[in-house]
């Protein structure tokens, strides 16, 4: 190996090392802070290395934060949004994948539009609408608002998967006069389970992470999801930073695990909508 090649190799590993530090440090720091004592954080200086011996202390502090209730609300919001957007998304995906009909182009364009419109744009009208229908301060209202944005993504992911299923598979069932709805639920959906799982993860964590709607529509502390609850720590100093970081870590871990598991599928889903819209 020539000297030149060796330097190149070294530079490449150096670059990878720098990137790993840049990308990984904030998450490392979140964990390290959670495991620190508050006397260190605000006084003597934070210890750079993680201190697992402080874990019991962290558990005690976390007990004073209603993180359990917040996560429960988050779970309800995320799960409700997932069910609703998968149901509606598979209907739309099947229609776009299998039929030609008047207005198909318009439907495609409208679905694409939803990916461009900032959530903040419909914040005020939804607020007014929810007052009228008594949906303000309710998890139901929040789910209904969230699904407007996660439904199209689910639709794109599922349509892409359905496009890959050959028509011959459903043909005989259709000739036998099987209702199209049963064709969808009994034949197509079982064949695209991996994509359904991917769409479910995307929709679930869209609801899990959502903050703007939740912080505007939910006034009652008992209804707060973790995103709003955690955000309430900003600018208040009663809760120790180690507890804040511990709660943030608990909130982040499921998202990290699932995003890493199905990274490629998520990317395919997010980009498909923008390309084929």
């Amino acid at each position: 190996m020539s000297f030149n090649k060796l330097t190149l190799k070294f530079l490449r590993y150096l670059l990878i090392g720098v990137l790993v530090v840049l990308a990984g440090f904030p998450v490392y720091w979140m964990a390290a802070t959670a495991l620190s004592l508050n006397s260190e954080l605000y006084g003597t200086g934070q210890v750079v290395w993680p201190q697992p011996q402080n874990f019991p202390e962290l558990m005690l502090e976390l007990g004073q934060v209603p993180i359990g209730l917040w996560l429960f609300n988050t779970l309800l919001i995320a799960a409700g949004g997932t069910v609703l957007s998968l149901t509606l998304g598979s209907l739309a995906g099947y229609a776009l994948s299998r039929f030609r009909f008047h207005g198909k182009g318009v439907v495609g364009f409208l679905l694409f539009m939803t990916q461009v419109v900032p959530e903040a744009l419909i914040l005020v009208p939804l607020y007014a609408m929810f007052i009228t229908f008594g949906l303000l301060n309710s998890l139901t209202g929040l789910v209904l608002a969230n699904v407007g944005f996660s439904l199209p993504v689910a639709c794109f992911v599922l349509k892409g998967a359905m496009d890959a299923v050959p028509y011959e598979i459903e043909e005989s069932a259709i000739i036998d006069n099987c209702p199209r709805f049963s064709v969808l639920t009994m034949i197509i959906l079982p064949l695209i389970m991996p994509s359904i799982a991917a769409a479910a993860v995307v929709a679930f964590f869209a609801g899990w992470n959502e903050f703007l709607f939740a912080s505007t529509f939910l006034m009652d502390r008992g209804n707060w999801p973790a995103s709003v609850g955690l955000a309430s720590f900003v600018g208040q100093y009663e809760t120790p930073m180690s507890a804040v970081m511990g709660a943030a870590l608990v909130f982040s871990l499921p998202a990290i695990v699932f995003f890493l598991l199905i990274q490629r599928k998520i990317v395919a889903g997010l980009t498909a909508g923008a390309v084929k819209g």
Partner: protein
């Protein structure tokens, strides 16, 4: 089967697609497009938050006020600068990361996972982490700068630094996504082609320009568009880190919408900000649409 029966069946068959597409579309009409239309109308009224369902029509009054307000231009400028810089830095770093880990090496899986952290962490958690790192007294950045003897900085409170501080968080979040999109495209570059270019005497940079870049260009374009759109939409990290401050240097349009509506209580005015945001989003979407159409044509040639 009688003719009547088959005719009837044909008639209902034509309706079948609508049985599938209508429920989701009606849903979107109610919870997305009707609110959007209503927002456009609201921008022509003097609706206040005390009674959001009743406002007097005032024509272009809100827009007249908007275009005379220096805060509006500040907000528009912040939005555009933020979006453009997020695209430039986020895409550059994402492409560099993708190229760095494209070829296999020991520990690639774990490196790839760590590089995706910023993308996977929920926005609110990311905001809390970075708020802590930017903390005036005890944050890690100020501890480092103090140790280096250059003193402390008000990362989020100085008009010179705040936008950059927000951008750092944004880049941390979007670069991994760009990396994933570009990595997928890199896998479509035939290895033999690169090999052939190298044998023909092309050095690394030339191979990149002649072989790799054309392959990943569509992916980079798409990623840039998405990062741009997301930057215009992004609310949580800006709102939580700076709240639009200091002196409005980070108050993008969406932050302004929320503040005008729920802190200033002027829903009509907030909707006018929203209308400008919609125009901006549509402009970017149509640029993308045209580019995408042209690419399709080019590819089918």
């Amino acid at each position: 089967m009688s003719m009547r029966g088959s005719k009837l069946r044909n008639g209902t068959t034509r309706l079948v697609p609508y049985a599938f597409i209508l429920p989701p579309m009606i849903y979107l009409m109610v919870f997305m497009f009707w609110p959007l239309a209503r927002q456009m109308y609201m921008s022509l009224t003097n609706t206040r938050i005390i009674n959001p369902n009743r406002g007097r029509f005032i024509g272009l009054g809100n827009y007249e006020r908007l275009f005379e307000d220096p805060a509006f231009y500040l907000s528009l400028r912040a939005t555009l600068v933020y979006a453009v810089l997020a695209v430039i830095f986020g895409v550059t770093l994402g492409v560099i990361s993708a190229l760095a880990i494209d070829r296999p090496f020991k520990g690639r899986t774990i490196v790839r996972a760590i590089l995706l952290f910023g993308w996977a962490v929920p926005n609110v958690a990311a905001s809390l982490i970075w708020l802590w790192m930017y903390n005036d007294r005890s944050g890690v950045f100020n501890r480092i700068t103090e140790y280096l003897g250059i003193g402390r900085f008000g990362w989020l409170t100085s008009t010179d630094l705040a936008l950059g501080a927000i951008l750092a968080v944004t880049v941390w979040q979007v670069a991994p996504f760009v990396m994933l999109v570009v990595l997928a495209a890199l896998q479509s570059v035939p290895h033999e082609v690169r090999e052939a270019a190298r044998i023909d005497g092309a050095d690394g940079l030339n191979t990149f320009r002649a072989v790799t870049l054309p392959h990943i260009r569509p992916a980079v374009q798409l990623a840039s568009l998405l990062v741009c759109v997301w930057s215009i939409r992004r609310f949580d990290i800006i709102y939580l880190l700076t709240g639009g401050g200091p002196v409005g240097t980070t108050s993008t349009l969406v932050v302004k919408i929320r503040q005008t509506a729920f802190e200033g209580h002027e829903l009509g005015m907030a909707s006018a900000y929203g209308a400008v945001g919609l125009v901006l989003a549509l402009a970017i979407a149509s640029v993308h649409y045209v580019v995408e159409q042209r690419r399709m044509k080019w590819m089918s040639r």
